[in-house]
Amino acid sequence: MATEQSDSGQDGRSIRRRWEPRIERLRRGWDRYTEHKIGVVGLIILIIYALWSIAPGVFAPHSPDWVAYLGEPPIKSRLTGEQIRSLPHPPAFGDPFFAPFGTNSLGNGVLTLVIYSAQNAMYIGLAAGMLSSLVGVPLGLISGFYGDTWIDEAIQRFVDIMYGLPFLPFLIVLVAIRGITTTNIIIGIAVTSWLNNCITVRGETLSLKERSYVESAKVAGASDTRIIFRHIMPNVLPISFVFLAQDAAGAVIAQASLAYLGLADFTANSWGLMLENIKSTGYVFKAWWWLIPPGIALMLMAASFYFIGFSMEDVTNPQR
């Protein structure tokens, strides 16, 4: 490590020289990624959602507190009985108000809610995906590197037990214990979703550690940590990114399922909550403009994660 520091003390020229080939490599990887149309589509969708999350106000026609007929807060008047009876209102373009996807039973714009909910889904997807990678990848690495020892055995038994638990009901228990908040939902999802990650990384590690470049590093005197971090992990990470994307997709869907079962964080706008609301108010088959958009939004977000994941899998596949 001491030598690493003395390196950085030198002029930037050498550092740039050392990174140049890697940047070039990334660029080539990107070229290969863009060969996959679905990967590009997924990325575009995700970028749109990211923009929605960062600045929903720019894209949404109203604020989430906007109410049909009455407009933006502060709201001074109340809805008339006739107006209430017209809710949920189908799409309207200016007459009597502007709500391209109609409104829900409370008079909030569906499109607005859909856009404002992107943030929550994005957060849940990325956080749960990363969390499950953070648990799964190191455990898989350790398990694989110390394959056939008690460490590996212990981790694998634990994974076996976790596989014996039905995920969704288990998730319900976890969320119920800690209270229904977005953070707890994320933790719950991560706790149940790291298994595949761990198993795949373990398998990959097992095969990588038999490669002769790992043996070559051992002959050169490299320590276990150096071998794991310098030689095995960089070759495992691409696969774990694939899993991150897949776990993110799974998390977005799991959140919606929890919401359907009544375990939604009612303080945050989310697509799952919108669908829960349509169910609890009984408009499932009466207000298609309210039923379809959140479902599609959800589907597209999960799909964009899958699209990115599977395209990356192809790029990282050493056979190609």
């Binding site: 596989y163 359907y260 298609w288």
Partner: protein
């Protein structure tokens, strides 16, 4: 001719049993760390302290937790699942009634899903990279991204609500006008199960397809596929008999993963379609802190998973003659 020795099977059963014990212990602790208790719902404002105390005693809640745990584990060994406070019935009876219904729903989706999935995976893997592969693959990923309850709603909306072809709830006709014979019952169940199974398999098959497609693509490079072609066999024979047969092997192992997906799906589907199985009661049992019922349902689902995994081993040895579990033969 299976190549699993009795000794191996015995060991596997012991390991599975231990796994179940750990799962049950884990759940015992987790369930009881949920805030609140089911007796809150039994206690009305007018009750005296003694009355409340009596209720607590009947349900064994006064014992220290470790004693409850020991008692609970002993009960489970003897098949005593306890009594449900919310349903006010023996849990065992509840399970016996509901388990088969879940199995019917789950089993049929599992079977259909595992026929369609590998089949589609076979074609996509064989023609990997073609326009057809790309479009079908991305479509199936879209399906896979749908929340199961939402797609069920769409199905109900179109097929039941708009077209009124199939019923959208329950397992039997509520007030039947026909006579109850084995045939009519079966027909009635089929009539009711169609929509839930359709909804779940609509997305459920994708899981096994996702495993089959890449493995199928891998085996196309194998020497035996080349040789099969060189022998003059038709492309179809090469694909089905030589390639797909080998690509199926990893799918059997992957079945465990899709299993979890399907169980999750069944829980949701049972709730959407008012299917009177176990998935329907597990959610309410957890939310109502009905521990005996929750424990029992968890136990049965875990048992289902464990049994399915044992079955996978059997299927595995059947598919791959190289695998031998234990000193068989």
């Amino acid at each position: 001719m299976t190549r699993i020795s009795g000794k191996y099977l015995a060991k596997r059963i012991v390991v599975s049993y231990l796994t179940l014990l750990v799962i049950m212990s884990l759940l015992f602790v987790l369930l009881r760390s949920m805030p609140g208790s089911f007796i809150t719902s039994m206690i009305s404002s007018g009750m005296t302290a003694e009355q409340i105390e009596r209720i607590r005693e009947t349900w064994g809640l006064n014992e220290p937790l470790w004693k409850q745990y020991v008692q609970f584990m002993i009960n489970y060994q003897t098949g005593n699942f306890g009594r449900s406070p919310t349903y006010n019935a023996q849990v065992w009876d509840l399970i016996v009634r509901r388990m088969p219904r879940t199995l019917v729903l789950f089993g049929s989706t599992f079977i259909i899903g595992f026929i369609i999935g590998p089949l589609v995976g076979m074609y996509l893997g064989w023609w990997r990279g073609s326009t057809k592969d790309k479009s079908i693959f991305s479509t199936s990923l879209l399906l896979y991204s749908m929340p199961s309850f939402w797609i069920s709603w769409l199905f109900i909306w179109v097929i039941n609500y708009e077209l009124d072809w199939l019923p959208s709830a329950y397992m039997f006709t509520q007030f039947p006008e026909f006579e109850w014979t084995a045939f009519t019952v079966m027909r009635d169940v089929l009539y009711h199960i169609a929509l839930p199974v359709m909804s779940l398999t609509f997305i459920g098959w994708v899981g096994s397809m996702l495993i089959m497609r890449p493995t199928m693509n891998q085996v196309t490079d194998e020497g035996y596929v080349f040789l099969a072609r060189a022998k003059g066999l038709s492309e179809r024979t090469v694909m089905v008999k030589h390639a797909a047969r080998n690509a199926l092997i990893p799918v059997a192992t992957g079945a465990v993963v899709s299993l979890a997906f399907l169980i999750d799906g069944s829980v949701i589907i049972e709730n959407v379609f008012n299917w009177p199985g176990m998935g329907q009661i597990i959610v309410s049992a957890v939310l109502n802190r009905d521990f005996p019922v929750a424990q029992a349902v968890f136990f049965m689902l875990a048992l289902l998973i464990v049994v399915m995994r044992l079955l996978t081993d059997v299927v595995y040895t059947y598919l791959d003659p190289r695998i031998k579990f234990g000193e068989g033969e």
